[in-house]
Structure formats: C-alpha cells, structure tokens
C-alpha cells in the first residue's frame, strides 16, 4: 500500500500501532517507523507511546485535511486503544483474505459512519465497528452484501448483546439517514449479516445472544479475533483495559 493510502487507513481507524502500520504498508516495522517520522515531519501525524508495545500513530488536523477527510483530529483515547487495535487487526485479516482483494470489497470504518451521522447519534443507535461492502458482480455468492463487523474483547451482558445484534440486523437505512428511514418495515435490511470477532472471554456471551435471537441469529457469524489483535502484554483474555469493548463511545 502506498504511504498516501496508509495515511487514509490511519485516519479511518482513529490511530494504529506501528506494527500494524507496517502490515498495512507491506513493509518492515523499521521502515514503518521511518514513514511515520516523515509524516510527523510534514505535520500530518503524531506518534507516541500510548500503550504497551509499539508507538501509536494518528493523524493531525493537517493530515486529515490532506486526506480530505472531515474528521476531528483527536488523540486515540486510552480506554479505547485495545478496541482500536482489535478492529484494525480484524480489518487487516480481512484485507489479507484472497476473496476480499479479488472482489474489490471495501471497509467502511466506524469513524466514517460516525462522521456521516454528523453528531446526531442518539442514545438508541449503535454504530458497528465497521462495515464491509461486497460489490455486485464480484463473482462470489455473497456479492452485493453489506456486513456489520463487531469486535468483542470483553463480554457485555447477554441482553445488551442481543439488543445490538437485533438492531444491526433489522436496520434498513444508512448511517446518517433520516430517523424515519432507520428501520422501515418491508425494506431489505442494511446488513445482510453481522460478523462478530470475539476474544475467548467474550465468545460465550455472543454465542448465547445469537441463540436468543432465534431465526434472526442465523445471520450472525462468530469467529475468534485474529492473532495480534490484543495489545502487547495484555493478550486477548485480558484485553479491554477496562474500557468499552465494542465501540460504545466515540472519541
């Protein structure tokens, strides 16, 4: 991936650690450090040690403006670092899947979804950690589908998880649409499926929640988070650092 595209990637994910940036750019971590230093020198990015492991890189206001992205420049919140890393790991794992590249699928990040909502997120709306759009005519059976991606590090209550799943699967409108279009009976749902990537600790609750959904649960897929999704030293079992496990708060 070109450094320019890497800049957009970092912007979309709020912030990434240097090892993940190296994977994104397809270079060694040492080379990624140099790229990050160049971004810093240009005033496009900031870097700091925010958590155990490599440094975090995030975009400044100038960097976001360079990318043409209408986001607010903020430092990744400490309470969300584990979650951000997990979501980035999920995205990278999907990017590595041959079907993803072959079908030119694309990832719509939580940050983009929230930006579309323009601060109009009500207490009742849940925003997924990302969406994966599979273009029509991609040659795969699931072409044309839109998936909601959820990364679950720490277990929520079963009732809350059920409510989120039901909301994701019954939503009909795009994020940022009129409130009236959010859930319209008779219209096809926005998300064909919800893909849950869970830590071992969170998985039982997610499975229970899927079972509680009944027939609707057949549209929920559960997998374990990929390797490297946890913060260094924390691992997946202890991931979360006490913060929200699944995109509950927007920075």
């Amino acid at each position: 991936m070109r450094p320019g595209a890497g800049l957009v990637f970092v912007a979309e994910m709020y912030g990434v650690q240097l090892d993940q940036l190296a994977t994104v750019l397809g270079v060694s971590q040492r080379r990624a450090v140099a790229v990050a230093a160049r971004w810093r020198a240009a005033g496009h990015a900031q870097a700091a040690v925010l958590s155990p492991g490599p440094r975090w890189v995030w975009l400044t206001k100038a960097g976001l403006a360079t990318c043409g992205l209408p986001y607010s420049a903020v430092t990744p919140g400490l309470s969300r670092l584990a979650h951000l890393r997990a979501v980035t790991a999920v995205r990278l794992a999907l990017l590595a899947a041959p079907q993803f590249a072959a079908s030119a699928a694309y990832w719509r990040s939580e940050r983009r979804l929230r930006a579309r909502m323009g601060g109009r997120i009500g207490l009742r709306e849940h925003v997924p950690d990302g969406e994966v759009h599979w273009p029509d005519g991609a040659g795969f059976p699931w072409a044309g589908e839109c998936w909601a991606i959820e990364a679950e590090l720490t277990p929520k209550t079963s009732a809350r998880t059920v409510a989120i799943m039901r909301e994701l699967l019954s939503r009909t409108g795009d994020y940022g649409c009129l409130a009236a279009d959010v859930q319209v009976p008779g219209r096809p749902p926005r998300h064909s499926r919800a893909i849950y990537l869970c830590s071992p600790a969170a998985r039982p609750v997610v499975v229970r929640a899927r079972d509680a959904l009944g027939l609707l649960g057949s549209r929920v897929e559960i997998r374990l988070l990929p390797d490297g999704a946890g913060l260094a030293g924390a691992g997946l079992a202890g991931a979360g650092l006490g913060g929200p496990a699944s995109g509950e708060a927007a920075p």
Binding site: V90, A93, L94, A96, A97, P98, Q99, F100, G122, L123, R124, F140, P141, W142, V162, R166, L169, S170, T172, L178, A179, A180, D181, V182, Q183, V184, P185, G186, R187, P188, P189, S192, R193, I195, L197, R203, V207, D211, A212, L213, G214, L215, L216, G217, S218, R219, E221, I222, R223, L224, L225, P226
Partner: protein
C-alpha cells in the same frame, strides 16, 4: 314660565355640547403636544384591533421596551452626569423632537423621541384598547346593544386571520418546544387560559385521558396526527435525555375501510419524521401474538371472544371456560398458535396431556366435559377464521414505536369487537409484563362501534390502573359511548382536556367548561334606533365556551377545554414526507441453508421468529417469519437463511473456522 323653562333646557344642552367640544379640543391639544406618543398609541391601537390582540400584549410590548429606556437614560447620564439631567431628559427629548421637526428633520426628530415615545405610546394604546374592549364586552359601548356582538364577531375574524397567518409562516409553529410542550397550532382566542401566540399542551397532559370530538371533515385527523407526532417526538427526546421510558403509541381505528388505510399511511410518514423508528400497521402489515398472554389471561380473553347466551346458556359458557382452561394450562405449556389450541381441543388430546400429571379433578372434568369438545372446537375454529392471522403472531407491541390498528368496525362489527377486546388485553398485558417499561398512549377512534364486549368506561378504568393514557375520539357526542351515562363518565374523567372541533351538538361538552362571571349591562332605548348610555349593570354567569362558536368553527379550528377555560386553536397541519417507494418484497423465512453452520438448523426450528422478543419464544417459527413482525420483517427478509449464501470461505480464510463450544 314656559319660556324660561325652555331657555333653561336649551342652555343645558348648549353647555353640554360645549363641555364635550372643550374636552375633545383639550384631548386633541394634548395628543398634538405629545405627538410622538399619540402616533405610537394610535398605531398600537390599530394593530391590536386589526390583529385581534388582547390589551396585555401591548402592555407586554411596552414592558419589553424597558431595556431600551434604561440604556437611553444611562447614555444621557453618561453624557451629562447628575440626576436632574436624567429627570429632565424626557422633557428635553420632547423639546428636541419639536425643534428638529420644525427644522425639517422628521427622521432625526423621531429618533430623538423614540426611546420614550414607543413604550409610552404602547402603554397608552394598551389602556385605550382595554377601555374599548371592556366597554364593548360589558355591553355599554357602541351605538346599540348589538354593537358588542358585532365587535366580538369582527374580532374573531381578525383573530382567525392572525392565527392563520401565523401558521402559514414557515417555521413559526414548531412541533414541540422547550419544557416538553406539544405545539398544536396558533392561538385564536383564549378564555380563562393564559394567552400567547402558540397553543401548546404539556407532555404530561397527553399522559392523561383526553377526548376529541369533531365531525368528518373538520380536521380531526389532522389534529390527532399532530398530537400523536408531538407525543412521539417529545417522548423520544425525554427518553434520550434519561427522563422517561420510551414512548409507545397505539391507535385503534375502529372504522376501518380505505379511509383508515389512507390515515395509516399518513400516520406512518409523520411518525417517522418525529423519530419513530418503526411504525406498524395492524393487521395489514404486522401481526401480534395473542399467545404471548399469560395462561390465565389467555383463557379469559379466549372465552370472552366468544359470544355467550344468557340463562341456561351460561352452563355451556362454564363448560367452555373449563375446557379452554384445561387446554391452555396443560402440563406441556400454553398453546403457541390457534392451530395448536384447536389440536388440543381434539378428542383424546386432553386426556393424554393430563395422563401423567393431572389431578383427579382435572381427569373428572375432562371426562364429564369431553362430549362438548367438538362444539367448543367448532366455535373457536369459526372465531379464528373470522379474526384472521393478525392475532396469531409473531410480534408484540414492543416491536414498534407506534402501532396503527385497523378494526373493521363498519362492515364486520362482530370481528372488530373481538379484535378490539384482544388488542386491549394484549396491550394491558404488555403494559404490566412487557420487557421494557413504556409510556403508552392508547388512542381509540370511534371505539363505541366496537365496545360491546369491552365497555369504554372499563377501558378507561383499566388504563388508569395500568398507567396508560387513553385518547378517545368520536365524530359526535353520541359517538363517544353507547349510553349517556358512559358519555358523561368519559368526558368528565378527561383530565388531559377536551378537544372540540365543529360538531352540531356541543352543549354537553361545552357545559363541562362551566361558567364565568361577566358584566351584563342594560341600556335605555331613547327613540329607535338610538339607545342612551344610561342603564344598569350586574354580574351574571355566562358559559366559558360559546356553543354557537363551536358550531361555526371552520376546518382546522379546535377548542381546547381544560380546567374551566378554553383556548381556540388554528391547528397547524403536519406535512408528511412523500410516501416511500415500496421496498423489495420480503421473502418468507425458511430454514437455514444446510451446512452453513453446525447446529443452525436446530436453532432455526422451533424458536421465535425474527424480530419477536425473547418472551415470544412460543411463537411458531415458520408461521411467524411468514407473517413478519414489524420490527423484524426487514430483519426476517434476509433471515430467510435459505437465501443467504455460505460465507465460511472468506471468514475461514481471514479468521479461521468457527470454534466449537
């Protein structure tokens, strides 16, 4: 002697005329001297007359000029310190006005006098308008006693014109305002209520019983849609702010027909704009499950849905109730559908079901009543065929923010009566045992058409005990309920107020507003058509609401009666978004594609259909998904898992296979 007497009379007349002329001249002189104030007063008076304002509006405007006067005085004091200068500032302003006017600078003259002339003029105009309206209201003003009537009618026209202009102005009438106020429209006139440009009722008042009466074509539906939409918008906002439970609006349209469908479409569109995330139209597009009722309640409801005779027929009613109770409260659990219940009423089922765990009394009852099983089954088969699939699930009131239930009370009265009874029982059960507390408003239109099984006063009492607010609407006083006693009970217990639109017989409702004290003046007739300004006045009781005014209300005008006062409102019509283009048809749910995930088939079979709550786990999965609950119908669309391709290849490639438990 006669000549002297005549001279005296003539002299008195001349003196009287002279006194009047002198008074008029003095008044004109004062008005001319205080020209700036007089001009503002005249303008204020004309505006109040033309717009039909109350005098206090002019006084309020004068009071709002206070800061301007204070700034002007402060500026004067800063230019030339000393209290004498400030005290003399009005006099100097007056002098300055005349000097500048004489010098040919009228604009500068007006600017010099304005800080003082505007508030004083507004106050003077208010006083003059108070005098004028008071004089005419008491019957003492005008050339004839009928002048007060003509004045009142003219002012009504002016007030209506003003209110219409206000609602026509874009953005001038919001749906809700701060303080959880639901704005209905522009105020035409108030009696005994606080005046203001906008007519608004508090959210809490919609949480109490209300009555709406108006004939067809008077704007009743427009008013109701506005009230419902404002209720939903305010309720959602309060919920988002953590001030209350989420709102739930349930409308029972007991007329049915194509008109009800049109209203339902408007209902859906305006509710969506208010923030309602899902609006269900029952039974056309959504269904409810009668079988989610608790067993005892289900038995009572099922038995009540069947018409019973009296006298010796009561015996059969008891037999039926006993059999239904056995079928519903069987050891294997309550029935999940009408089909399930009918299976239980087949010979032998009850004996088998109770064979292991039934009591001796149960077995005795089954033996003695089994010969009636066929008849009971026949009656319920007929009932379920009439009721249709609308009550056979899946779905519950919790699945949508707003429900519009259409009962065919005009052409299928017995069916609508049964449906009404069942819906109210379901709602009552939801209010008590629902998974989430909701602030519920139940709006019933022409409920008297279907209230034979459930008297409306009983609905009122039940709603009160459950914390539901009931809004009853009818086309006439007679349409409120079947008997006069019931009508009065309904109207008298409308703590949230009564909305009256044009109706030919408003007296029973206007009478509830009571009377107020008013001055009544008699005038002596000189020689027709001249009435003298001499007579007597007395206090008398006059109705707060003028029934003749109600009979003459135009389309979109309503009178809101509350606590002995009335506010006449020009209702602002809600403009709904254009109807949505129909979405892709939702395929019926089927089993999940084989092999997509281990164990998925087991879950799909026998579990609650998409969109229904976990409490509805008894619902028949296949039938449920086919009918489609409102919230879950979209969800069920692709929940037709047979239509979903297997995505394991890509997920396995990215994340590895799904781990086993």
């Amino acid at each position: 002697m006669i000549g002297r007497r005549l001279s005296l009379v003539v002299a008195q007349a001349i003196l009287r005329v002279l006194a009047r002329v002198l008074g008029a001249v003095a008044l004109a002189a004062v008005a001319a001297a205080a020209a700036p104030v007089s001009l503002v007063a005249a303008g204020a008076l004309a505006a109040a007359w033309r717009q039909g304002w109350l005098p206090r509006r002019l006084f309020a405007a004068a009071a709002w000029c206070g800061p301007m006067v204070a700034v002007w005085l402060a500026w004067t004091a800063r230019a030339a310190p000393g209290w004498q200068v400030v005290a003399a500032a009005p006099y100097h302003a007056w002098l300055g006005f005349w000097h500048l006017a004489r010098a040919g600078s009228p604009l500068r003259a007006a600017a010099v006098a304005a800080p003082l002339a505007i508030p004083l003029g507004l106050a003077a105009g208010g006083l003059a308008w108070t005098y004028r309206t008071g004089l005419l209201r008491s019957g003492a003003g005008g050339l004839s006693p009928a002048a007060s009537v003509a004045f009142d009618q003219r002012q009504w026209r002016h007030q209506v014109r003003s209110a219409r202009a206000r609602i026509a102005a874009a953005g001038s009438v919001p749906l809700t305002t701060r303080g959880d106020l639901l704005v209905v429209g522009a105020v035409i006139r108030v009696v005994g209520h606080r005046g203001g440009p906008l007519a608004a009722v508090s959210y809490q008042r919609t949480r109490s019983h209300q009555v709406v009466v108006g004939t067809t074509g008077t704007g009743k539906t427009t008013l109701l849609l506005r009230l419902w939409t404002a209720f939903m918008a305010t309720g959602l906002r309060r919920h988002a702010a953590g001030l209350g439970a989420p709102p739930l609006l349930v409308v029972l349209d007991c007329k049915g027909g194509s008109d009800a469908r049109r209203v339902a479409d408007r209902f859906r569109r305006v509710l969506r704009q208010a923030g309602a995330r899902s609006t269900a139209v029952w039974p056309d597009e959504a269904s409810l499950s009668l079988w989610t009722l608790p067993s005892r309640q289900l038995t009572t409801t099922l038995v009540d849905l069947i018409e019973h005779g009296t006298g010796s027929a009561a015996y059969y009613a008891d037999v039926m109730e006993a059999l239904i109770a056995l079928a519903v409260e069987a050891p294997c659990g309550p029935p999940a559908s009408s089909r399930d219940l009918l299976i239980r009423l087949e010979p032998g089922w009850l004996s088998t079901a109770y064979a292991g765990s039934g009591t001796a009394a149960d077995h005795a009852l089954i033996r003695s009543a089994s010969r009636h099983l066929g008849d009971v089954a026949l009656r319920f088969r007929t009932l379920f065929r009439r009721l249709g699939a609308g009550l056979d699930g899946p779905g519950g009131f919790g699945d949508a923010d707003a429900w519009y239930c259409i009962l065919e009370g005009t052409d299928q009265i017995p069916v609508a009566e049964g449906q009404a009874r069942a819906l109210v029982d379901l709602l009552a059960s939801f209010a008590v045992r629902g998974p989430q507390r909701r602030e519920i408003l139940l709006a019933v239109d022409e409920f008297s058409a279907v209230s034979r099984r459930l008297p409306i006063w009983q609905l009122y009492e039940r709603a009160r005990s459950l914390g539901l607010a009931v809004q009853v609407s009818a086309q006439s006083w007679q349409g409120l309920a079947a008997s006069q006693d019931e009508r009065y009970r309904i109207a008298a217990s409308a703590e949230g107020g009564i909305w009256l639109l044009r109706t030919p017989h408003p007296e029973p409702l206007t009478g509830l507003a009571g009377t107020r004290k008013a001055v009544e003046t008699t005038r002596r007739l000189g020689r027709f058509p001249v009435w003298r300004h001499q007579g007597t006045s007395r206090l008398s009781e006059v109705p707060v609401v003028d029934a003749a005014l109600i009979r003459g209300l135009d389309v979109g005008q309503a009178a809101y009666i509350y606590r002995g006062g009335v506010t006449y409102v020009q209702v602002k019509r809600l403009v709904a978004a254009p109807a949505a283009v129909g979405g892709r048809p939702v395929p019926a749910a089927a089993g999940r594609a084989a092999g997509s995930r281990p164990g998925a088939e087991d879950r799909a079979a026998g579990e609650v259909a998409a969109g229904t709550s976990a409490t509805g786990a008894r619902a028949d999965a296949a039938a449920g998904a086919a009918a489609g609950s409102p919230a879950g119908s979209a969800a069920a669309g692709l929940g037709a898992a047979g239509a979903l391709p297997d995505v394991s290849p890509v997920l396995d490639a990215a994340f590895g296979p799904e781990p086993r438990a």
